[in-house]
């Protein structure tokens, strides 16, 4: 290859160095973000148990509300972003959108799992049963199924471009299903309490409870952001690795052909 090869190498070395430097300072910022989120969540935990008043009818078990509702919101927000990631990919065909879609889908799935675990734990002492097929629980359950299916589909398609496209279409189909599910189940049966927050007149909670809830929500939202960011970065690195592997292969090939020529 001669001079051209050396030039290429220099250029690659340069980019690697640059990457390392920016990575380091970025890592520091995100490391701080992790620490801040951990502190925020720890404080929220303290507030939930020691600051928030004891609810009159349900007792201490009601404290699960702060986790249950906050994670439900975060999960739903994550899925909503994932939906936009899917649309963004189809519109632009830029892999970055696909990374965003998968990162938010996985994080959303994690939060939905928390919702599905905390839900029954709360329901058992209050409603007397672990599980009821009411509108919101069932919607959460179907959401869980839909996004497990989304991740399974991604596992079964190996070629990244094709995987991004197919899973984007599925992501859109799955998300369109959410309102349909919600209304069909709502008409079917509903036991879940009407939304306590913004659920019209008569609803509403104690201001201290409200502040604790917001505090917890802030913690979980921060957690959502850094988890999504880490997961996104993982996809980006994965692509970088496959590109580097392809480059390496190419260099080996050109070396081989050089030998053949000699």
């Amino acid at each position: 290859m001669g001079p051209a090869g050396d030039g290429q190498r220099q250029q690659i070395d340069g980019t690697v160095q640059e990457m390392e430097m920016t990575t380091k300072s970025k890592q520091r910022v995100w490391g701080l973000a992790w620490v801040a989120t951990a502190i925020l969540l720890a404080l929220a935990g303290y507030a939930i148990f020691f600051v928030a008043p004891r609810e009159l009818t349900m007792g201490n078990i009601q404290r699960i509300f702060y986790v249950h509702v906050a994670t439900a919101w975060c999960g739903f927000i994550a899925f909503f972003i994932s939906f936009f990631g899917c649309i963004g990919y189809l519109a632009s065909r830029q892999m970055e959108w696909d990374w965003l879609a998968v990162a938010t889908a996985e994080v959303g799935l994690m939060f939905t799992t928390v919702v599905l675990i905390t839900g029954p734990v709360w329901a058992k002492p209050v409603w007397g049963v672990w599980w009821v097929w009411d509108a919101r629980l069932t919607t959460a359950f179907i959401l869980e199924m839909l996004y497990i299916a989304y991740l399974l589909l991604r596992k079964m398609v190996t070629e990244p471009g094709r995987r991004a496209m197919i899973s984007a279409v599925f992501g859109i189909f799955a998300f369109l299903d959410v309102p349909l599910c919600y209304f069909s189940i709502r008409w079917w049966r509903t036991l879940h309490p009407a939304p306590v927050i913004g659920g019209g007149p008569g609803s509403g909670i104690n201001p201290v409870m409200w502040h604790v809830f917001l505090f917890g929500l802030a913690g979980f939202l921060a957690l959502t952001v850094i988890l999504v960011r880490d997961r996104y970065r993982m996809e980006a690195l994965r692509q970088k690795i496959s590109e580097l592997a392809a480059d390496l292969e190419e260099r080996e090939e050109s070396l081989e052909s050089k030998e053949v020529t000699r």
Binding site: L90, M145, L153, V157, M165, I166, F173, L176
Partner: protein
């Protein structure tokens, strides 16, 4: 060439092949017959219980039969790479999907027309007085199944483990159809037969939303 004409051409081709081989219809008819029998062995329901479980049984039987059938619809096009031939043609890519959706819908509808009376006999539930409404509900739900199922069949045709994958993708998305379909069927077979407006609009709404989505996304679906 207009979308309707090219859709018609694809539909006619599907029907011609099916009439020649009977692969799909035979499989589905046998599957539903088997389910009808096996459920009765498994639960040996009384007349009262039959009335209660029959709606769910009918819908689940057709859902699983449909899933079975839909797997083949794009795999068939891979044998000789005929999907490429369809994509080469100067037609709207949604015509390929809509032609297949309509074909799958017709195959399932034939099965339903054959099997609703058989279920009625096996489970001693008189469906004759509400036959028309029952078929309307079934057709609306089946259309939704065909739309989403055909699209997912196109998506999974080149995936690993596609036989396992399709039901996993399809069944959760069909949850609203199952709920609305079973509820509407239960009301029809109940003591005071009637038909819930909300269930019909749910089934119709599902069809409209997914037909639109399919139409918008069809270009991506048939891509290599």
């Amino acid at each position: 060439m207009s979308l309707t004409r090219s859709t018609g051409a694809v539909l006619a081709k599907e029907l011609k092949i099916e009439l020649r081989t009977h692969d799909l219809t035979n499989t589905v008819l046998f599957f539903v017959l088997m389910v009808a029998g096996l459920f009765s062995f498994a639960f040996s329901p009384t007349v009262q219980e039959s009335r209660r479980i029959l709606p769910g049984l009918i819908w689940l039987a057709f859902f699983f039969a449909g899933t079975l059938m839909l797997q083949l619809c794009f795999v068939r096009e891979q044998v000789n790479d005929t999907l490429a031939a369809l994509r080469l043609a100067p037609i709207d890519p949604s015509a390929i999907l809509f032609g297949k959706i309509l074909a799958n819908f017709l195959f399932l509808v034939v099965t339903e027309i054959v099997f609703v009376p058989i279920f009625s006999v096996f489970y001693n539930v008189n469906v004759w007085p509400v036959m028309g409404q029952l078929l309307l509900v079934l057709f609306l739900g089946t259309f939704g199944l065909s739309v989403v199922g055909t699209v997912f069949s196109a998506m999974t045709a080149q995936a690993r483990m596609r036989e396992l994958l399709l039901p996993l993708l399809l069944l959760p998305v069909l949850a609203p159809v199952l709920i609305a379909g079973v509820e509407a069927t239960s009301e029809l077979l109940g003591a005071h037969p009637g038909i819930g407006r909300e269930w019909l609009s749910m089934l119709g709404g599902f069809d409209v939303i997914y037909v639109t989505a399919t139409w918008l996304l069809s270009g991506f679906l048939v891509e290599e």
